[in-house]
Symmetry: D3
């Protein structure tokens, strides 16, 4: 039995609930999923500033998870904020949803397109694709320009807009697989895939299965070198409680 | 319940049994593992020639698997022979063990070393690392120069030789994770990991969990473009039965 | 005097004849060209599956060539199937037509476009361009979507379609050189080049001259490491005669 | 007259003073340098965890700088923490010291070696080198394994240890230029350069001149796309004051 | 006080004057700028041939500068002709304007477009971007097809044509920063930037500040290895005076 | 019948004679080889400065060759000086010897080592390997530190030193093929290859056969775009005769 903590790094509770539901839908029966939002930070993540400031709350959740004996973690924001720091802190594996979705995409297709929210995040998606080794497999990144917190507002018509953008992306990029570039799109996945007839990958589901797999394989983040546990030192001011 | 067929592309039955055992050891209770060797081809795979000639037998096993309703496939040879062709033929996902091990390695470490059998296969491992996007994550490939079929011969002392080479590789390469470069090393994994204190990844186990995950996620190889089903055409001579 | 064997890896005799004619047209007077098709395999090569299953017949032709004292080989299919295995088997040099065409293109231009047959082969051309080091020199790959065996059918109007696609590719890609992406287009070369006023490269001709050059230079595939002769071992079943 | 704020993202005052002194030593007479530490965060930065948690304090200093009419910023930690977020927040240019040192190194040499503090930061230096485009120019990264806050402790003999490691790096890497990989090494620069007879680059000084140059050129971070000002939204909990 | 020699490698005096004026406009008060054209070579540089033949005159100016105690050099042609040779010859730093503009662009934006003169120079700009490590940061290169010496001819309407092409480039490439690809466009910079609302970078100004910065930092080209002073040897014929 | 002009860009007549002899040794009977040195320039090429100043003489030889109806050119210096400019000037193909040797090496091996003269040229060899797409195929560059003009001086014992360095390079780099990095090593080729049992490639011979092949294929440098003939313009001073 594995206990996986899925952390939505923003503070939008409704989104956390959707994320938890999507994770549970694919988890093995014996897997326990806990989906949480941090106690501090931005309501949604749409810039490097938001992403940077989502990290302290995320790390507090990892630290709490370690005290609770959590086996592995999902970071449920497509920018994979705090991934490297979280790996230092957690004993078990930590996987980001951008990372997971891109890994999965290269296993079922020859090239993928990312469909994301705001144009300003396009660069971040490219950055991650290159960092993870998927600079050639990623054929394009496309923004629908719907803000994160409007994705589940019927007025945004997001599901339709995203589906149309996915169809355009396949044509423009000559790709064969879609990666949805926001945790807030997690529940569009099945429908869009059925419409387009290609694999459409939600990172929340993909990351949940990857963490579950790593736990089953007995694989934990290496503690040799870069991801060794942080050295104890004094933290001060507002962040004094982060002292290890 | 998923049915995963693990194909050892060489004809060495003892090795197929070990591979099957390693796959079953990590599979979910509800997963059925069938481990097979092809009816034709080389006794072991240690060259491009062996690899090329292992593919027809492998593809025959994929075709048989499709008739049997198999949900997904593992190609259990570190050269990932026939991976692209198998993806065209199978409806469900197909994952090679080099691919799987490298994907897993990048999720638990900052850089990996591959420890493989014969020196002549070093180039192939680098080739795959680059093809899959892990040219920067792969920090070195090291050969123990023990032939594949001697790995389980006590006289080769393979487990000890491999463990020592892994230790050297971590130092030389500045890596933090080990990828075992041969399905015949699958059962060295736990012990070597315990000795070295770093993640040691066996591709058979890793690929089994990745296929299981993709099946659970409902992800099948894209049929748009490169991996569409092969076009029907005449096959002649010795290979006439491969006509689709 | 050099004896070069040009192997069309599919079983379409008419295409083999065209290929032989194109090779002879550029070979030195003292060079003997033998153009053959294998005794087994697919009628045309339009998928990874076709490509994989063309390899045994190709390797049988290489083995026969070695017995006949052949000096060097051309693999006359744009996917360069079996190239690495053939290099292990043959004493003399082996060159694929995709490889040859791309090498030649980078010697006479600053960037090339590939014009190929079916869309599903576009990924394979990109893969080879990157493998050979020409990922930056290759500016685009374009498919005319005419099946291989229809190229010489007047009803397909292939020569005209290909010429128009070449013109489009030059504009779209900002390239200055064309690589024809199928051995079946070998005899379009001169005419299309004259029409467009740019170098148009047929891999069959290019590979023939490259093999002839390597033979004249006394260069044979290195037997140190990756391309050493395959180790002797048991082959079984349908492929038992491939035992070395 | 330019006002440049040099932010040491850790809370070690002594180090901030050294950094300020090194910046002032190269700044133009008309440039005002303000060197600060944040009011919150880690005493030194030696892990991804430290780096992530240094960012809120850094961003608070940027926000304060904007209110004070600062013209440009230096982030004086070799991991360049918070660089992208800071660029969104600041009107004027923001330059990290790793970035600055690597840029300068490629202008005066054909390949550089980085000499850094702890082994666990080696991966971060490589990561930045690749991100900035200097993956080929960076020939090696070497750790002296002296903690950041011991660098100015005479007992660590850091200046001598670093100088010797620089000499080794030049030999091992075949490099011709040294980049010092920690703001705490800023005042070793002149002496080590004189000893080794090659350019030795301190990122604090380099970044100060780059920011001064960008200000003189009238260049500010582009607000089109990725680095546009963060969107206003609710921040909660401990970080509520970061609401824009 | 620094003495910087700005060398326009073509022989067009009017262009040299504009270049000198643009350099002086950004230089520090204490910096002396000398702007020169060589005594030999092409009237403008629009091909590899022109570029190659601009180099002897350029090197003669570097040699003269060394005799005059010049502190650093700018090569004011966007192909950066003779950069490596000049670095061997000069004691102080040498920076090319393409190099400088691309470095500056990556410090103020996430991706840049180059707008250049003739289409035939597009390949050269890409070549330099890749050589300097900015192959990913450079998002596109666009030619206005106005010859270099017509840029300041009112009849060419160059300023307007260039501004429009910059706007197109930002859209097409998804870039956020413009690099002007010719020293002859140096004085378009301010106006185009104001029109488009993004950073527009003139390499002459950027290189002047970079050289000034390197001089202030006490950084000179490394003499270890590749950029060591040329070995003395006999030069003959027309070039006999280049003997060192 | 093809007329190939082999240009040794330095002015050392003895070396030109060796180069001519090596080219003729591999040329087809019907090929006419003219080997020349320019009338101006450096006695040997061992720096960027030498290389840059070898180019005018080289281009004068190309221009003369065009008047004489030469069919193709070899640039017989391992830095491939003036290659791009020569391509603009010549109607027929132009191939450099570094380029030719690296192309040939990738056709007969899986990875090559370059053995060159002075350490200061190591960077140039790497630069060319990357420019031509062979950054991954090139496994190492090694300098014997014998000056170019001492290679044929028995006192230098160059043949033995080079052979030993080649053996070391194969071991250190894990390579299987040697590229000789100087035209002055052309006649070491056969002997070193026999000693080491691997392909050893002399660029002069390789380039001669490549040019001969391109001529036989009817391939000339593309005149579309980058390599179009230089535009007519005024050249002044010492170089006035280069006016086109």
């Amino acid at each position: 039995m594995a206990h996986i903590k899925v952390i939505n790094p923003n503070t939008a509770r409704a989104m956390t609930e959707t994320i938890g539901r999507c994770a549970r839908a694919v988890a093995a029966p014996a897997t326990v999923i806990t989906a949480v939002s941090p106690a501090m930070g931005p309501a949604s993540i749409e810039s490097h500033y938001d992403e940077a400031l989502a990290v302290p709350g995320l790390l507090a959740e990892i630290a709490a998870g370690e005290r609770d004996g959590v086996d592995g973690y999902v970071i449920a924001c497509f920018g994979d904020p705090g991934l490297h720091a979280a790996r230092e802190l957690a004993a078990g594996p930590v996987v980001g949803i951008a990372e997971a979705a891109m890994h999965a995409a290269t296993l079922v297709g020859s090239g993928f397109s990312v469909v994301t929210t705001l144009s300003r995040t396009v660069g971040r998606a490219w950055h991650l694709a290159r960092e993870y080794g998927f600079g050639a497999a990623c054929r394009g990144v496309h923004a629908c320009d719907i803000p994160v917190l409007d994705l589940d507002d019927p007025a945004s018509d997001a599901r339709k807009v995203v589906a149309e953008l996915c169809a355009t992306a396949l044509e423009t990029d000559g790709s064969d697989t879609i990666v949805l570039g926001c945790a807030g799109m997690a529940d569009f996945c099945t429908e869009v895939s059925r419409d387009l007839g290609v694999p459409v990958i939600d990172g929340v589901a993909a990351a949940t299965k990857l963490v579950e797999s790593l736990v089953a394989l007995g694989l934990r983040t290496s503690t040799r070198g870069e991801y060794a546990h942080p050295l104890p030192k004094r933290y001060s001011g507002l962040l004094r409680d982060f002292t290890i």
